[in-house]
Amino acid sequence: MKLYKCSLTELKNMIEEKRVKLQDIHESISYRTTHTDPIIKAYVNKNETYNIDELDQNNYKDTYLKGLPIAIKDNISIEEIKTTCSSKMLEEYVPPYNATVVEKIKEAGGIITGKTNMDEYAMGSSTENSAFFPTVNPWGKNRVPGGSSGGSAAAVAAGMVPVSLGSDTGGSIRQPASFCGVVGLKPTYGAVSRYGLVAFASSLDQIGPLARNVEDIALMMNVITGRDEKDSTCVNRDYPDFTEYLKNDVKDMKIGIPDQYFDIDFDQEVRESVLNAVEKLKKAGAKIERVSLTGAEYALAAYYIIATAEASSNLARYDGVRYGLRAEGADNLKKMFTETRQQGFGEEVKRRIMLGTYVLSSGYYDDFYLKAQKVRTLIKNDFDQLFTDYDLILSPTTPTTAFKIGEKRDPLKMYAADIFTVPVNIAGIPAISVPCGFDQKGLPIGLQLMGAHFKEEKLIQAAFSLEKILNLDIKYPALK
């Protein structure tokens, strides 16, 4: 048994039962990464601050994560380790503090292997917008891994690390999880602290885990949830032990299937795979009914107003004054701002800053931003209403399987890749993507379950059941 193929839970158990040495796990992971990452390019920076030879597993004896490896998306700050957001603007930026999730992982005894590639500032759905290099989908060398957390998904899928953290503003955890055949959870807005996460769209951003099974997701949720006085949007409440919901039981669970989502024209193989999973859930005792929701295309339209408006405001801080890139030779302040931003931002980031500035500009605010915020109310109320009757809502995660690198040049076509994932962020609810099959090209298909605010445990229970019912033989992708 190769250790890099084991899940976090398996490794944790093996260490607790003294069947394996921590150093051997890290050796295996490191070996796998050395041979795999030159092809996949999941990491932007490896963590060079720890030495496997010096790891002492006794130091982690009383911890939850036992010194096990975790990869982190490169928009989450780690003290003394570069956090680039895959942008030239932050290419040399070294944070002077840790994000709260990083503190929590360290306290729980996790060891961070490195920072994973992403679309610049988390803006994109393919990781092609990284200013450094695109990441490759382990299931097909000419395929994108999805995005923006493409590096986090690809690293987990390729066995370079058992779990990783990503961030999800409009689908950035779930869509790459779906494309790479792994599990990804976007928690409820307010369940996980965003302190130290480089801000993109503050009313939508959320940090969450990616893993090769639902069990590991539950484990990571136990580590990262909880109130943080450094993030005022982080809600003060008690969270359950999520591993207690790892039960293969969907009996009497009521699951809604929105007509408006299935009316969208999307890939036939994805449709069949998702509907096949629906039949199996029915056989297992779930009560599945068709329901009505505001069309996802309205959520997508509202998203591209709200997200870009907030981004244009959040990214105003990159001015070359305090950290990050500064253009050389500008002889006055205004020139320094504009030239720094010209050189530091890539095309998609500029496009979104432009759109966000436009929708917030004088005379347009009511037509766009206010209208989008009102539509947000409609979408949220719709979900809230459904969740009084239903435990979960089910849809595909993405309209297609992983597309080809370089295939989507038109921004609107790229944005449409997020049609099923965006409504969740707009409503602030939690959702999980689980693999439900493969298409004829051998590319993974993902199914999305959405839940009511702070009902992550239901997502975990249903996703765990689905994983058991489908019993997919997800082999490691053959890396060529």
């Binding site: 915020q373 921004p411 409503a427």
Partner: protein, 96 residues
């Protein structure tokens, strides 16, 4: 339709310097995106209250106590240019 003159105006608001090629490209792309989002006009939102945050966040207070903060050294560590424990920037006041 967002014409090139508007694109230049927005770029100036956003402190972005765009090449002529970018101005032309963004004029077309932003027009397309704005056309798409105008789909929202199909929904009646006359009496709807806008939502900024999806969870009920009221004022979040903490005790007004001084706590440890980042050291000056750490704060200035990433500064592109610094002088006398401060960020150094090009001249702000322009000469006549």
């Amino acid at each position: 339709m967002i014409n090139e003159e508007e694109v230049r105006y927005i770029a100036d608001l956003a402190s972005l310097k765009l090449s002529e090629k970018e101005v032309e490209m963004f004029s077309k792309q932003l027009s397309d995106i704005v056309d798409y989002v105008e789909k929202l006009d199909e929904l009646d939102t006359e009496d709807i209250v806008p939502t900024a945050y999806t969870i009920p966040v009221k004022n979040v207070f903490r005790e007004d106590k001084v706590k440890e903060s980042l050291s000056l050294e750490k704060v200035l560590k990433n500064a592109p240019e610094k002088q006398a424990d401060q960020f150094r920037v090009p001249k702000i006041i322009e000469e006549d």
